[in-house]
């Protein structure tokens, strides 16, 4: 009986250690190596930091800057600016915009920079935020800038 108890205790230690090590190691690897490559999109301030080249295909995400939305003369092309509060990137898109596309709300666009530094998007997806509320009520935090590396924006965000 004593032998059985020690075997159980041994198994407890071994299995616990194995699971903790595995989970800990995997998470550390993901956080250390995967941070950027696992992200879906770049934000406007990343474009300069990463030295993204003209013609390089990538996804750009952020808030549609309030007051930046316009339709070009051809009637089919939309022009707006995507911002992460640190930098702003002009975007042009020809096509249908999703229902949730609005100024002050998030978008994720896919495309490339042209020679004059405008992001020519082939896809525009609307990014819904974490606010759910009935029409006509005050949001907890709307259209606030947030950037993963921007502590100031993060502080004002949680303070909202």
């Amino acid at each position: 009986m004593a032998g059985l108890q020690t075997r159980k205790k041994q198994r407890l230690v071994v299995v616990s250690l194995a699971v903790t090590t595995l989970v800990g190691a995997s998470l550390l690897v993901l956080l250390a190596l995967g941070g950027d490559s696992l992200s879906l999109f770049l934000q406007p301030s990343d474009i300069k930091d990463r030295q993204v080249e003209t013609g390089q295909h990538f996804r750009l995400g952020g808030l549609v800057e309030t007051g930046s939305f316009s339709r070009l003369d051809d009637g089919l092309t939309y022009r707006f600016a995507v911002t992460d509060c640190l930098a702003t990137q002009p975007v042009e898109f020809t096509g249908l915009l999703p229902d949730l596309f609005r100024e002050g709300q998030g978008v994720v666009t896919e495309g490339e920079l042209n020679s004059s530094g405008v992001f020519i998007a082939s896809t525009v997806l609307a990014k819904h935020d974490e606010n759910y509320r009935p029409p006509g009520t005050m949001p907890k935090a709307e259209g606030q800038c947030s950037h993963p590396n921007d502590q100031a924006a993060a502080a004002s965000y949680t303070g909202g």
Partner: protein, 244 residues
């Protein structure tokens, strides 16, 4: 602990809990669905589409909860070799797979009109798809190996390895940029969801939870009886001729 490890005791306990769980499930689904579809306001951005959330979010919560139940059962089974723990994981997993599939499907149906796409390979969507595959893998391992003891052990190891995916699902929206929105309910600075929408959400979460208890206990009883039957059948087969 050891009291519930006895199949007969477990069956008796399950029979006591089941009627209450079924009652709670019916009441909570009734109230939850009434609030979700009639007695709650549309959203200021999404309009009526917000009602998908009352099906989608509790499904996703229960998908993760059920995985933790499966993993805890697997841990107990590997360390203490309780046959009931092995059966608990086997009983929980299919419910978890269904919750995960429901979360994925409702998410896609909501995503098309709201985001503009059914699917993107962002951190949240991909990790939940991995969760679905983990459930399928767990169930497949039970089926693939004839010896139940060995099958259960292999499946349990897979379940424990997959535990790493749970924090990844939860924090994917914080660690990486995703199309999926960040958490609205379980967050440090309190819910960002209006009270009139939180009520149906929590009622539905309670309903799903009660549904899980019902299905889990039923499947446990089924597995216990199935095992009793196979033991009895083997005893009959090995009984000497004329011993009846």
């Amino acid at each position: 602990m050891h009291r519930f490890a006895n199949p007969a005791q477990f069956n008796r306990l399950a029979d006591v809990i089941l009627p209450w769980a079924i009652g709670a499930m019916v009441l909570l689904f009734g109230a939850g669905l009434y609030y979700a579809f009639w007695a709650s306001p549309p959203d200021y951005q999404q309009g009526e589409s917000v009602r998908v959330m009352y099906i989608h979010v509790p499904a996703a919560w229960l998908a993760m909860f059920t995985y933790m139940v499966t993993a805890a059962a697997s841990f107990t089974a590997l360390v203490w070799r309780h046959p009931l723990a092995l059966l608990a994981g086997k009983a929980a997993a299919p419910a978890g797979a269904v919750f995960t599939a429901l979360a994925l499907l409702t998410g896609m149906l909501w995503g098309k009109p709201m985001w503009g796409t059914f699917w993107v390979w962002d951190g949240r969507l991909t990790s939940v798809l991995v969760l679905f595959f983990l459930y399928l893998g767990y169930m497949a391992l039970w089926q693939a190996i004839d010896d139940e003891e060995k099958a259960g052990r292999a499946a349990s190891i897979l379940a424990l390895v997959g535990v790493v995916n749970i924090p990844i699902i939860k924090f994917s929206v914080d660690w990486w940029s995703t199309l999926h929105q960040p958490a609205s309910v379980i967050r440090l600075d309190g819910p960002t969801i209006d009270g009139s929408m939180l009520t149906p959400l929590l009622l539905m979460a309670g309903a799903y939870q009660a549904y899980f208890v019902v299905v889990f206990l039923w499947r446990m009883k089924l597995e216990i009886n199935r095992r009793k039957l196979s033991v009895a059948r083997q005893a009959m087969m090995h009984a000497p001729v004329g011993a009846e």
